[in-house]
Symmetry: C2
Subunit: 349 residues, 2 copies
């Protein structure tokens, strides 16, 4: 088991420190500290809403850890210039660097010799496999039930929903696998492909490959990326959607998004977004949005319940906040959809 | 001016030899020969329907040329193994190799030393610029009128339509630029970005960059790629569509496509495809399909005219075969749409 320090220097907010919060939630027992000098002395739970008493620090000194993790996911994925000194210190201490940004640290002319000299390691999880190919349009023919967590925006809980669904389905006795498509999901699960770093011609092929490798499972939970209505990332989203050919989608939703993140564009109504996803997914195979996974963390409990009720009424779909109230309604919806589709196909319709 | 030999060995059909046919059509005066031993002795016009008397050959010997062009665009973009010997011969003769496949010849351990030894050159036009970034969602705010040639499938004439529209708009006194997004368009125009070779996160940014660099023009004609309903390439298509944020789209159509190329998937009705493009484009800015550019080469003249009339009736849109009958109806539709949108915006609605 590794001992990690999560680096979020200058960026300790839930939007930018997405990788840190994901690791705190799912591999918290391996996290020794979070590094941001502006927050030193406070705890991860206080600053990021997850991670309990794990401390924020402003130095690597005296912390028992072997790995420094780049804890952010910025638009464009560049390494902040001010972080270089911290990374150099970690390398001089023999630490391993775990990086999910588009900037590859293993190619860095300063870091590579330092790692070699002090026995460290430079790991870029966003470097895609070299042997990817175009899709053969085979995912839609697999027998596993393919569930894709999508969203109306970035950072609305697509990864988290997929991880929670996997756990819940396993608890009910099914075989289920989380298929990571982003840096944080890969760091959490130890597998997957960083789909937004793949050459665009091969995105659908990469998604297909993940499904084909797991076709023996009862369920695969494919982590979504971006949004079909996101002006910066929609192509990634559609390539992934068509490559994994889901039969069921779970729609991630954050009620605070009046504009699309990293843009000034107005957010379309959720009903419209669902229609777009279903239209585009149905190009590949019959596919519906079966539930909404809402992030209600901006609301008190009463307002959260009211929002979920309104979503159910307006959309005619189960709605849940998987972190706050559990994912049971969504699991039920997925199982019902599988039953419905299998009955349809056994009747020849 | 270069003298080119186009290599299409074993693949001299219009679907695979797309790069060769594009160069024969738009840079035919620079083409000395087409290389395919199966067709030697015949002419480009006979075999590929374009290029007139330019001969097919089965050897490089005795042909005055300085450049060997990889004349195909295969699914996946790999270099056929049997071509290696021909490339080695060309390099030993000091020729330049112009390549648009995903396989980069400049990185080839065998070719690079041969090129160095004999003074040749290895040019990979599908290698994207190194400095691409995510989109800033700015294309939609440019004053140039953005026309995007899209399609219901690959290889239905999107590049050709954009090139013909550019020429026709210039003839009518407008400034207009063709923005190449694929290997053949880049070879023809000498500029552009190979969008399907770009890291998926940067596709919209690359398309945006092409528009921003040409924002001073009256019109930009952005070459489309793939299709929104193409299971292999739809992500490329959507990233490009959102990145260039067109106000008008021209829909490429080939009536012979009952299934989508490189797949066994049924082709949806054209009306449905148009609806999907308009729904997805409108996420970014108001945008309509204003005309259909049909490839009627499979039909005799009477059947072609009948098809165009049926398209007009069924879709309520102008329809033309730009190669066979000229692109005037499409140019008129583009100009009308620009007028309509400018009148709408000057009325504040």
């Amino acid at each position: 088991m590794s001992r990690m320090i999560l680096l979020t220097e200058g960026m300790s907010n839930p939007a930018e420190a997405k990788t840190a919060t994901g690791l705190l939630r799912y591999r918290g027992e391996e996290v020794a500290a979070v590094y941001d000098s502006a927050c030193a002395g406070r705890t991860a739970g206080e600053v990021l809403g997850v991670g309990g008493a794990i401390p924020f620090v402003d130095s690597l000194d005296g912390i028992e850890a072997d790995t420094l993790v780049m804890g952010i996911a910025t638009a464009g994925g560049e390494l902040p210039g001010s972080w270089r000194a911290i990374i150099r210190d970690a390398l001089r201490g023999g630490m391993k660097i775990l990086n999910g940004l588009h900037t590859f640290i293993a190619d860095d002319p300063e870091f590579a010799p330092l790692a070699a000299e002090h026995g460290g390691e430079l790991i870029d999880v966003r470097r895609p496999p070299a042997d990817l190919v175009v899709s053969s349009n085979e995912a839609r023919n697999t027998a596993c039930f393919r569930v894709h967590t999508v969203g109306h925006d970035c950072g609305v809980g697509k990864m988290l929903t997929a991880l929670e669904l996997m756990a819940a389905l396993r608890e009910r006795g099914h075989t289920a696998e989380f298929l990571a498509t982003g840096q944080t999901g890969i760091m959490i699960s130890g597998g997957g492909i960083p789909i937004d770093a793949v050459v665009s011609d091969f995105v659908a092929g990469a998604a297909e490959q993940l499904v084909l490798e797991n076709r023996d499972k009862d369920f695969v939970l494919i982590e979504g990326q971006g949004s079909l209505v996101h002006p910066l990332y929609s192509g990634v989203t559609l390539g992934l959607l068509h490559g994994c050919a889901p039969q069921a989608m779970v729609m991630g939703f954050d009620p605070t998004r009046t504009t699309i993140r990293h843009s000034e564009q107005a957010m379309p109504p959720l009903k419209k977004v669902i229609e777009l996803y279903e239209s585009m997914a149905n190009v590949m195979c019959p596919s519906r949005v079966v539930a909404v996974a809402a992030n209600t963390s901006s609301l008190d409990e009463a307002a959260a319940q009211k929002l979920l009720a309104a979503l159910r009424d307006n959309l005619g779909l189960p709605a849940a906040d998987v972190v706050r109230f559990g994912c049971e309604p969504i699991v039920d919806a997925v199982l019902e959809e599988r039953l419905r589709l299998s009955e349809g196909s056994s009747q020849g319709g």
